[in-house]
């Protein structure tokens, strides 16, 4: 039974349960709403919840566990001989899965009957041709072991799915019956539904957190693998970045880190003053009409995809800087792609971050502070400089640090605006590159995934993650530490 049908059946059972539970509870009170502990719809929801939630839980768990179980069973069937020297168990297993999928597909298309699919024999039938006719292309001829394993794989999967369907339906029916049985006028359905809603919310929150852990873990494992193939001291302290996929690369983090920080600093030098002044104008000086128009317009900047900023850097800002600092001008700049180009454009991208956050923070400073200052005969700018900004400072610092971690993680603007050369240079008109841009270039193309040249991407990602995490934690610390004082 396809999973979608199973889900629809469970939901339909839930709907039936809702009606049954509601009706039974009302009947137990003799049709009088007021005698019920909860509103009638709560009894219905209680039954629907008990029908759907456990069944869905079983379904999800089974779908996650079954592939592992089938893989483990099938891989035992494969003799060691099936693994030639240049392949691994994982590669053979993916062959098995592909053949099994191909057989499934052929059966679904009607090219093979289910019995024929199971009876195929690698020595007599040409499996590759049969599957090719069904539109499933295989890279090489199918060996007897792989075909056997694939057939076994199909049997196990089919049995598993059958059991799963049965179990899910039993869970749904059982939950439904349990809920309906409980639907009595004294039953506290309202409280049970409340608990069910809490469980739903907890699930959502833990999914988000678990995903974060998963991402970090995958980074960590690959980083460890990289350091087994490439010395950590070289990675952290070498001043040269020259990967070559033939081997003998030098993979030093420092030139990339330098490029990242240089570009981020220029971006912040652009974004912080402009963003902050814009925020002060909008929150303190602008009238409601101007504010109503200007604030959304400024925030439009935040909605522009960064690739568009990249194009802006490549096509507009780069040539513009070239005409001033290039060969015709001051002669400091070799090409349009440079740290300055990327930094300026990234700064423009960050303006709405800084201004929007700072604006909220400045608005949160109590009016009583401003009144106190005006009441002493201070002007507006004196009030802002000496009272409002100091009170808002922790929040503003937090906003700036958030913008900084955004700048450090930015990729597309750098790819298009800063060039691709990893170098250590003080000249802001030189092309440089950043950690993120190099992660992209190391993982695109057909790199061998077990070579240090590809694995370095994970080590780079991990370094970046640690840096931005540190910045975010620092930002939170600053905001928390000073917030208490000013309230």
């Amino acid at each position: 039974m396809p999973t979608l049908w199973l889900v629809l059946i469970v939901v339909a059972l839930g709907g039936i349960g809702f009606v049954l539970g509601r009706g039974r509870a009302l009947a137990s009170a003799g049709g009088d709403n007021r005698k019920l502990h909860s509103l009638p719809s709560y009894y219905g929801s209680n039954v629907a919840m008990k029908t759907i939630m456990p069944a869905m839980g079983v379904l999800v768990l089974w779908l996650i566990v079954q592939p592992f179980f089938v893989d483990a069973t099938v891989s035992k069937l494969l003799p060691d001989a099936a693994q030639s020297e240049d392949t691994t168990l994982g590669l053979v297993m993916s062959d098995v899965r592909r053949v099994a999928d191909g057989l499934d597909f052929a059966v679904a298309e009607g090219l093979l009957s289910p019995d024929e699919a199971q009876a195929l024999d690698a020595s007599s039938d040409n499996v590759r041709e049969t599957l090719g006719a069904a539109g499933v292309a295989l890279g090489s001829d199918v060996s007897a072991e792989v075909l056997n394993a694939a057939q076994r794989y199909r049997v196990l999967s089919a049995t598993g799915r059958l059991f799963m369907s049965a179990l899910v339906l039993v869970a749904a029916l059982g939950g439904c019956a349990w809920g309906v049985k409980n639907s009595h006028m004294d039953y506290r359905a309202r409280n049970v539904v409340e608990a069910g809603i809490e469980a739903l919310l907890v699930t959502a929150a833990s999914l988000a957190i678990l995903t974060t852990f998963g991402i970090v873990l995958s980074l960590i494992f690959n980083t460890i693998e990289f350091f087994q193939r490439y010395p950590a001291s070289e990675f952290f302290f070498s001043l040269v970045w020259s990967p070559s996929f033939g081997g003998g690369s030098e993979l030093g983090l420092l030139p990339l880190l330098w490029g990242t920080l240089y570009i981020s600093v220029i971006a912040l030098l652009v974004a912080v003053p402009i963003g902050l002044f814009a925020a002060i104008y909008l929150s303190e000086y602008a009238g409601p009409k101007v504010r109503g128009v200007a604030k959304p317009l400024l925030e439009v900047l935040a909605g522009i995809p960064t690739i568009v900023y990249g194009l802006f850097a490549l096509l507009t800002v780069g040539p513009l800087l070239m005409s001033v600092f290039g060969r015709e001008g001051l002669g400091w700049m070799q090409a349009g792609t440079a740290v300055m180009t990327a930094g300026l454009v990234m700064g423009i991208m960050l303006i709405p971050f800084v201004s929007s956050l700072s604006d909220d923070i400045i608005n949160a400073v109590p009016q009583a502070m401003r009144d106190g200052s005006y009441g002493l005969g201070a002007t507006q700018s004196e009030t802002i400089r000496q009272v409002v900004l100091p009170a808002a400072l922790p929040g503003i610092v937090g906003a700036i640090l958030l913008a900084a971690s955004r700048a450090i993680g930015e990729t597309m603007i750098v790819v298009l605006g800063a060039g691709a050369a990893a170098r250590l240079s003080m000249n802001p008109f030189d092309a440089m590159t950043t950690v993120t841009a190099k992660i992209v270039s190391q993982l695109t193309g057909d790199a061998d995934f077990s070579s240090p040249e590809a694995l370095v991407a994970f080590a780079l990602g991990m370094s970046l993650f640690v840096i931005t995490l540190g910045l975010n934690v620092f930002a939170l610390y600053i905001v928390r530490k000073y917030r208490e004082q000013y309230e």
Binding site: A368, M369, G375, A378, E382, Y486
Partner: protein
């Protein structure tokens, strides 16, 4: 009925500090103050009383043009400080507020040290020649605010760390430090406990020696305790204005009597 520590009130006529003639205030379409005329004397505590929303705070804020910071507020009529119209185009509201200081309902110390809170006004108005001068101004203001003894050992601790009553006295000291001629107080004790209230009231009575003090209060007992003149506002009108003792013992207007005996408000 009312305890009146200043019963030997001097009722002889003093100089008029502020004269208001036919003042009207509008908030958008709302007519908040209707044709109010009042004379506020120098070196006197004048109390504004009345039920909530009667316009007493609004009128107080007209006296140092704090209503200018509210976009929709519009003020008509004349308000003269020492005979000069404060709503004249040539008058700089910033300068005016240095002369007419203000203390607010909720203590609002700046997120700075106690010293910097008090030195704020003198600094922006360039009142001190040097550091020693500024130290002296701060000390004098804190002494006048009756808080010097409590904070002299921790002048550089944040002002927000003081208790509510101390914060309000710090705010009074901060207002006094700019040497204003008039001190406006908008319900200065409404956020304070009885002991802190008593301290602030005592302070107000002392401030009367140097300044003209105008205080808005919800507490009729407080008005009777600290003021020499009382103005009763009702629905945006000035109902009655006169010597405090007379207002409280023998009011002429029936609405005043109704209010002070607790029948309206």
């Amino acid at each position: 009925m009312y305890d009146a520590p200043n019963s030997e009130r001097d009722v002889e006529v003093k100089d008029i500090k502020i004269t208001a003639q036919g003042v009207q205030v509008y908030y958008g379409d709302t007519h908040a103050i209707k044709d109010v005329s009042v004379d506020i004397e120098d070196k006197t505590v004048t109390a504004f009383i009345g039920p909530s929303g009667c316009g007493k705070s609004t009128f107080l804020r007209c006296l140092n043009r704090m209503n200018d910071t509210i976009d929709i507020a519009r003020v008509e009529g004349n308000i003269l400080l020492d005979g000069e119209d404060i709503y004249d185009k040539r008058v700089d509201p910033v300068q005016l507020r240095a002369k007419v200081g203000m203390v607010f309902q909720k203590p609002n110390p700046f997120p700075k040290s106690i010293y910097d809170n008090v030195a704020y006004g003198p600094r922006i108005h360039g009142m001190a020649k040097n550091k020693a001068d500024l130290d002296e101004i701060v000390e004098r203001a804190l002494k006048r605010g009756a808080i010097w003894n409590e904070v002299k050992d921790r002048l550089h601790a944040p002002g927000t760390g003081l208790s509510g009553g101390q914060q309000q006295r710090l705010c009074i000291a901060r207002a006094v430090a700019t040497e204003p001629e008039v001190l406006l107080m908008d319900e200065p004790c409404s956020a304070l406990d009885p002991i802190a209230t008593a301290q602030v009231e005592e302070l107000i009575d002392e401030l009367r020696r140097d300044y003209s003090v105008v205080i808005v209060t919800h507490s009729m007992q407080q008005a009777a305790r600290v003021s020499q003149k009382t103005a009763f506002f009702h629905l945006g009108n000035l109902v009655e204005f006169g010597v405090t003792d007379k207002i409280f013992t023998n009011p002429t207007d029936p609405r005043t009597e109704a209010y002070i005996t607790g029948r309206i408000g």
